[in-house]
Amino acid sequence: MVSEELLTQHNLTESEYQKIVDILKRQPTLTELGIFSVMWSEHCSYKSSRVHLRRLPTRGPAVLQGPGENAGIIDIGDGLAVAFKIESHNHPSFIEPFQGAATGVGGILRDIFTMGARPIAAMNSLRFGPLHKQQNKRILEGVVGGIAFYGNCFGVPTVGGEIYFADCYSQNPLVNAFALGIFEKDKIFYGRAHGVGNPVIYVGAKTGRDGIHGATMASAGFGEDAGAKRPNVQIGDPFMEKLLLEACLEAMQKGLIVGIQDMGAAGLTCSSCEMGARAGTGVELELDDVPQRESEMTAYEIMPNKKKEKEVFDVFHKWGLDVVTVGRVTDDGLLRVRQHGKVVAEIPNGALADDAPLYQRPLLPPKSIISSRLEHYSFLDGCEPAMIESFLSANPDCSRLLKLAVSSPNLACRQWVWEQYDHMVQSNTMVGPGSDAAVVRVKGTKKALAMTLDGPAYRVARHPREGAKLAVAESCRNIVCAGGRPIAATNCLNFGNPEHPEVMWQFSEVVDGMSEACNFFGTPITGGNVSFYNETFGDDIYPTPVLGMVGLIEDLSLVTRSAFQDSGDSIVFVETVNRLVGRIDLEDERAIQNFISSAIRDRLVKSAHDISEGGLAVALAECCYSNFQRGAIGAEVRVPSHLELVKDLFGEFATGVLLSTIHAAELCRRAEQVGLKSYDLGKVGGNRLILNYEGERAVDIAMDELESAWRQGLPKLLS
């Protein structure tokens, strides 16, 4: 029997240890214990989440590959397919923000190109603690710097994303990285070790100590020793990965590769046994042949290391990469590891990958949920308390409130962030950061892809099931507003400690809400990632599901932006009859999305922007100043008199959309036909934003002033 201490070090429970002994019919060697530790970690095995994830819809007419491979794949016509996925790198990013975020981007890009797809777009969803705390600034700057460092060098445009601030992320920031790649649909590669006798080849950077046990680290909460885990964070090498990309794609094009597997958090072990398990084969590895950075490293240390890909010699040498044969595919279904002529591990592949423990953890609705105080104004979450008071105090000066809102951390312009990301490389970016959805054209076709990330954590914390439905609905609406049709999604489920029954209840509710909405909208989840143990000192984060929605725009001429385009255009506000905050009615949502879609298809719309955080007033301001191509433009509108000033201007009724058009009457007629309410609010133009209400100017502010408040919001908080 091994010591309790050894099991704790490996994050294994006693019953898990017993299961290992049952599988092996003997005690594990230290190497084997290390392998099981990684493969059965929460991060690799999904042992707490699998029973729930089964409820998510994963199939659909366009889905070529659902969960279980490196990334999901959808068919976009013209013989082309798109692979995409989102993944978390939360824990490493807290320990070492720059490298943690950088390698998070690296990991998700590898998931895409190991399937044979060239990554053409990246996005990221970030959560930080409030910026009035010094440490959070440092984390944000590090994370943004790391994403820029990696993505820019690799040469993938970072076309969009989202950032929110709230207290619960102070000790546990979230870094979720999304990537999307494109390829011909008959050239998809899978992570399968086919062909007994085929060599297993190892390519890339030499394995070193810096990435060992990343997977086990991602499966435990943080206490005071977080800093001591810094060596567990891998050091990113985007140049190496760019060479790997080019070499892999070249080797695949030349038909030299049978199966390929990203060596993610668990490195060589994980990838070898996953490839064997999927193909029903065995894999034999010769550890002495694995390149090492430090010669005194033991076999045990090498096994669960983060690592890169393996491929065929000539191509890799051409690209200046190290490549060695480290093993071969066998027919006995075993993962066998040799070192110094001895077998140091021999484990049935199937047991490692498929017989991982499965937990039906207890669920319990929490006794209390976060206060409803910010129910109408969730954007205030994460603001300094003084600012929240200032906003909520019954001050009717809406100009002042608007300026305050647009400069607040959750609504301020993100340009400071995305200017550091190359969002144009590959020359496909039609709509970049700062719009509802990003749009990249597909060269060689007349199509474009729209994509968006959405994670309304405050809403999910208030009501997990409704919040999850809202996330699906809003991300679909963002795609629709860009002129697209939502096709499929990937999700990153960031939660607290699954051993807390309240957290598992949140998780289960979110899965149910997401399932219901995804089924309703016909947008299956083709893959993703679960990140548990997002807690520090026992405090769990908000349940934070982040949805990455991908849609297809059939014709480039349908691409629609959220910003107002031309002076003199009419501004039309369309909403559902039921005005809801923090949740949506699925049928109503379908009605409004269908309405927007057909209006765009019939060329009635010049811009479309959905109303979200900050409500109608902030949405209007965003339409005015988010035109980065032409600069800001003003507007004058009349607020319908049945609305209440502060509550209806800033309240987050998530059921409306702002359109600009030269066909206002036609749009309103169509809206009414399908049971939606519509208002011709006024006109685009001038250099002020003016909101008239009952004969008075409720808001009257120079665009320069408003835009500057919005643009300076984030830099001011960071300075």
Binding site: F154, P238, F239, K242, L243, E419, H423, M424, S427
Partner: protein
């Protein structure tokens, strides 16, 4: 007429340049591998943007040792068109084919955005269809684009009219606010004394189609075609 686009390990705009030449201006184009020792048969060679050798050392410091750089040096001496964009400009400066150097941006951060360039001279193979003072809307994307030269060199390139583009405001003024990286004299692009080698930090390859936000970059590529046609 044949264009070549060089691929260094770590180049990442080679496909963008290739696409513009082939699909936007409709000219024959081929890739050139960095280990090739000849550029025979090409009329113009483009060094694309990216991070050659990861830029882990000084930008361009390793790429200048690639075998193809000797061939490109000879090609330039014989009057061939050599066009370095972004990282390509950094490599040309490092290789001594253009004067000056590209330092870290004054803001110390990578900066990616659309901005305006003012055309300073039309007397180059890269600007011959432009008008003097014509404004071009072209994006930058770099961390090391801060053009520097010693006072003597700076005076010489100014006196010779080697400065082709300067960062300008939307109304064409040369101001510190219009300068994204701290470049001396707002310099965005220069040619060598013979005027056949151009280096510029902004990306005409990302702004040659209006659906990407601007088609102004195309004018530079079309100038090259124009020059090559005239040269017969």
């Amino acid at each position: 007429m044949k264009f070549g686009v060089v691929i260094f390990p770590g180049s990442n705009c080679e496909h963008d340049c290739y696409y513009v030449v082939e699909s936007v201006i409709g000219q024959p184009v081929e890739f050139i591998w960095h280990q090739d020792t000849s550029v025979k048969g090409f009329d113009a060679v483009i060094l694309p943007g990216g991070f050659a050798y990861g830029d882990y050392l000084r930008t361009g410091a390793l790429a200048k040792f690639s075998p193809v750089m000797k061939a490109i040096g000879d090609f330039a001496k014989q009057g061939g068109l050599v066009f370095g964009i972004c990282n390509g400009f950094q490599i040309l400066a490092e290789a001594g084919l253009l004067p000056g150097a590209l330092l870290r941006n004054v803001g110390l951060k990578y900066v990616c955005k659309f901005l305006h360039l003012r055309t300073e001279t039309t007397d180059t193979p890269y600007s011959n269809i432009l008008k003097k003072n014509q404004l071009l809307r072209i994006p930058v994307g770099h961390g090391d684009g801060n053009y520097f030269a010693d006072p003597e060199t700076l005076k010489r390139i100014e006196d010779n009219g080697q400065v082709v583009f300067r960062y300008a405001t939307a109304s064409g003024e040369i101001t510190p606010e219009a300068n994204p990286n701290g470049s001396l004299h707002n310099i965005a692009g220069i040619v060598n004394e013979q005027r056949n080698v151009l280096g510029m930090m902004p990306h005409p390859d990302r702004s040659s189609e209006s659906l990407l936000g601007s088609a102004d970059g195309k004018l530079i590529f079309e100038s090259m075609v124009n020059a090559l046609v005239r040269a017969g």
